[in-house]
């Protein structure tokens, strides 16, 4: 490889990598943002993500249609969310504890049912090449953008608009901010929260399908490296705003792409360290946005972690 081109391609490669790596972050964080806006936290999304990856891959392989795979992952994710939501609606149940249980359950079930699908090859999701204007293969490769990423970007805008200008959006915010006010309005907070958790789970399922059907593009037990958990930190960083979630997902994606990109241009020193970039970033973000004396602005008032 031409070293000259090699170094100048780094920013572009990171951008391309960011787009590739960020999609699961984007879907999980949008789902989590929705759930948290309703006043509940679902830590089980890591399990939902892995199960979504497995179910999406399996269905895509069996039907030979990646989109049916995505649909299946979405339905499974919604089911996981629904279970979490219903259990949390019972009195004296802690959403964080249920979330951790759901995370382990999701991963366990995915590994159990996923065994037969480690070998077979499922069809990939389609991507659109935005690099047609360039002759350089690396540029073209970097600008291959998956359709799901574009859907995710549109979804972020739609969610932002929904929270602002629709009845459902306002109801969600009321429920997330004050259970008392919601009850006084005759709303049923538990139902709203359960629905929000189910939809959030569906988003996370789609994020999982992206992992197994596009990047890295195969099903194995190590497919998720904690994206589902990092997305929770990301939502806090994004202040529960879907548009900010999009930016934050790109940032985390970029950090995740750092290791592979540097490796591809031949920088191998401290290479494991770069792979740790997203985790370090998570830690950094949480420290930077925390304060012992200040209340967090923008946090939904009913959220158990910020109460």
């Amino acid at each position: 490889m031409d070293t000259e081109l090699g170094y100048s391609i780094i920013p572009l490669a990171i951008l391309g990598g960011a787009i590739r790596v960020s999609t699961p972050f984007l879907f999980v964080s949008l789902g989590e943002a929705l759930t948290e806006r309703s006043g509940r936290i679902n830590l089980g999304l890591e399990g939902t993500l892995v199960f979504g990856a497995m179910s999406g891959y399996a269905v895509a392989y069996l039907t030979n249609s990646p989109w049916l795979g995505v649909g299946a992952a979405m339905i499974c994710g919604a089911l996981f969310g629904l279970i979490h939501g219903v259990i949390c609606s019972l009195p004296r149940v802690n959403d964080i504890a249920v979330g951790i249980a759901m995370m382990i359950l999701g991963m366990g079930l995915a590994f159990y049912f996923g065994k037969p699908y480690v070998q077979p090859v499922a069809p990939d999701l389609p991507a659109i090449g935005f690099g047609w204007w360039s002759d350089i293969p690396q540029v073209r490769a970097a600008l291959e953008v998956n359709v799901l990423f574009l859907i995710g970007a549109v979804l972020a805008v739609v969610l932002w608009w929904m929270l602002r200008s629709t009845r459902i959006g306002l109801i969600l915010r009321v429920v997330g901010d004050s259970t008392d006010a919601a009850r006084a309005m005759g709303l049923r907070p538990a139902v709203v929260r359960t629905c929000a958790t189910a939809v959030g789970g569906a988003f996370a399922g789609v994020g999982g399908a992206y992992l197994s059907l596009y990047y890295p593009g195969s099903w194995n037990e190590g497919i998720s490296s904690g994206q589902g958990l990092m997305a929770v930190a990301l939502v806090i960083f994004a202040r529960w705003n879907p548009l900010a979630c999009f930016g934050a997902a790109l940032l985390f994606g970029g950090a995740g792409a750092l290791g592979p990109v540097l490796q591809s241009v031949g920088i191998s020193e401290g290479y494991y360290l770069f792979f740790a970039a997203p985790y370090v970033l998570t830690l950094g973000v949480l420290i930077a946005t925390s304060s012992p004396t200040r209340a967090m602005t923008g946090a939904p008032g009913e959220l158990s972690i910020t109460k």
Binding site: S165, R167, I171, V174, D177, M185, T293, T297
Partner: protein
């Protein structure tokens, strides 16, 4: 919009064997401003909850505009034009004023056309006695503005009979006067009728046309406000119960005990600064800090209890630097009574006896706790301070607000006290509990303790303190001896426009 009249006939509400409301008939004429007086537990809330359909009365009926109305739930009450403004805000803090108003409507469209809604809201606001910024999140509004918004919301929803539950408990005197005089004008114009629950005689005399007084669930009197004096109302409310009178002031002012110099800290939002300089509290005096909530009093309390770090400045107690550690508090005999003591000064699920032991459990015994001593101490204090609890082993969260307050006060006032720091000690308590707690504070002062008291209740400050300070926007903006202080200028300083 025309006001409607409401009348209850023989309203009775029983909870098991307990009669909360006994054969209560009151009549609120259309366009009148009616006050409902009574101590805590007198049945005021039960009555209005029956009227609003939160409770189903055991017996009795209700007339709305002269016709019998069966109010089965709050929705039915709303449909008939009855609305209620609660003591605790039911606004959604992170939503803007406009969003709060629109979402409270029954018929919110699926997609909200904000441009059209805004035009409508502006037109509505223009016709109202007070205006509010539509685009501000409610969380950034002052308490008075929130209260106004609660009332606006009811008017926006087309309610023509408003029940106000202690609407001025969180307002400055100026704000209270403003809100109530607007309500009165709306009544006089015949737009609404108002039923106001209150403790404050002044507001009854100044704004209400008629008054009804409840005691122990029974209607014990009432009539035209013009015919009743404050003493008449107090006599009706209290019956023949005797109030503990605060002890007279005695003793002389001693040396400064608490000194604060150049204190700077950030407030809860992290956006504003708290700056307190040259605050002194001497032995044998009570210094009061008045102010509307959210102007830095809670933060000052947190600084003194060690819950909030200071960026700079110095706190000295008895001339020595003080960092709010437990050892220092013990050696200087500093005691605290924070607001909402159940959450700020108790472990809610631990027993009354354990909670009372918090000040002394580590000095009473060695490595092992002396259960016997702790229980003996708790028994004595519970008796002395008349804490009503089934046993001292009951979790303290099972006690009523006044009794939690008494239990904490018992713990904090036992033994020698040199410095007592208090925040809103009587918030939400009934008359007898209030006067008893104030008497205890006065006694501590007379025995030579330095007392710093932060309170949103100006009457309390005027009654108890020797010196009064006003905090506004995180700074002390006013200081005077209580004897020379005048309510009007304190009120202006509280409102931040002096």
């Amino acid at each position: 919009m025309t006001a409607i009249g409401v009348e209850t006939l023989g309203m009775t509400m029983r909870f098991g064997a307990f009669t909360a409301l006994d054969n209560c008939s009151i009549k609120i004429a259309p366009g009148s401003f009616h006050a409902l007086l009574g101590e805590n537990g007198a049945g005021k809330s039960t009555l209005v909850k029956c009227m609003m359909g939160f409770y189903q009365a055991t017996a009795g009926q209700m007339l709305v505009d002269g016709r019998e109305a069966r109010i089965t739930d709050p929705k039915a009450a709303h449909a008939r034009g009855l609305g209620m403004v609660y003591q605790h805000f039911t606004l959604v803090p992170s939503l803007t004023v406009a969003e709060n108003l629109v979402i409270s409507r029954e018929d919110v469209p699926n997609v909200i056309d904000w441009r059209a809604e805004r035009l409508e809201l502006q037109a509505f606001m223009a016709g109202m006695p007070f205006q509010l910024p539509l685009d501000q999140p409610v969380r950034t509004l002052a308490a008075g503005e929130k209260q106004k918004l609660e009332i606006l919301k009811q008017l926006y929803l087309g309610r023509r009979f408003l029940i106000l539950d202690e609407p001025t408990s969180v307002l400055t005197p100026d704000e209270a006067d403003e809100v109530l005089s607007h309500m009165r004008r709306l009544c006089q114009e015949g737009a609404i009728s108002v039923l106001m629950i209150t403790h404050k005689f002044r507001e009854v005399t100044a704004y209400a046309d008629e008054v009804s007084v409840l005691r122990r669930g029974k209607l014990v009197g009432g009539g035209k406000v013009a015919d009743l004096s404050h003493d008449d109302m107090a006599a009706l409310m209290m019956g023949d119960a005797q109030l503990a009178r605060p002890a007279d002031r005695s003793g002389t002012r001693g040396a400064p005990v608490l000194e604060l110099d150049g204190i700077r800290a950030v407030d809860r939002t992290g956006l504003k600064d708290i700056e307190v300089d040259g605050l002194r509290v001497h032995a044998g005096e009570i210094v009061g800090v008045a102010g509307i909530s959210g102007n830095g009093q809670s933060e000052l309390m947190e600084i003194l209890t060690g819950q909030r770090p200071c960026q700079s400045g110095e706190i000295r107690v008895n001339g020595r630097a003080y960092t709010a550690s437990r050892t220092e508090a013990q050696s200087h005999n500093i005691r605290f009574l924070p607001e909402e003591p159940l959450f700020n000064a108790c472990a809610p699920r631990m027993s009354v006896s354990d909670n009372i032991g918090f000040r002394s459990f580590d000095t009473d015994g060695g490595f092992w706790l002396s259960r016997r001593k702790m229980r003996a101490r708790a028994e004595t204090l519970v008796r002395q301070f008349k804490v009503k609890t089934t046993t001292i082993d009951a979790p303290i969260s099972a006690l009523s607000g006044g009794n939690v307050q008494r239990a904490v006060l018992a713990r904090e006032l036992s033994g020698e006290v040199d410095l007592l720091i208090i925040s809103n000690p009587c918030f939400g308590l009934d008359f007898s509990a209030v006067s008893e707690i104030r008497a205890r504070i006065m006694t501590a002062r007379n025995e030579g303790a330095a007392v710093l008291i932060m309170s949103e209740d100006l009457d309390e400050i005027m009654e108890l303190t020797d010196r009064v300070l006003v905090m506004s926007e995180g700074r002390v903006t006013y200081e005077a001896t209580t004897a020379e202080a005048d309510i009007a200028s304190i009120g202006h300083h509280m409102g931040g426009h002096a």
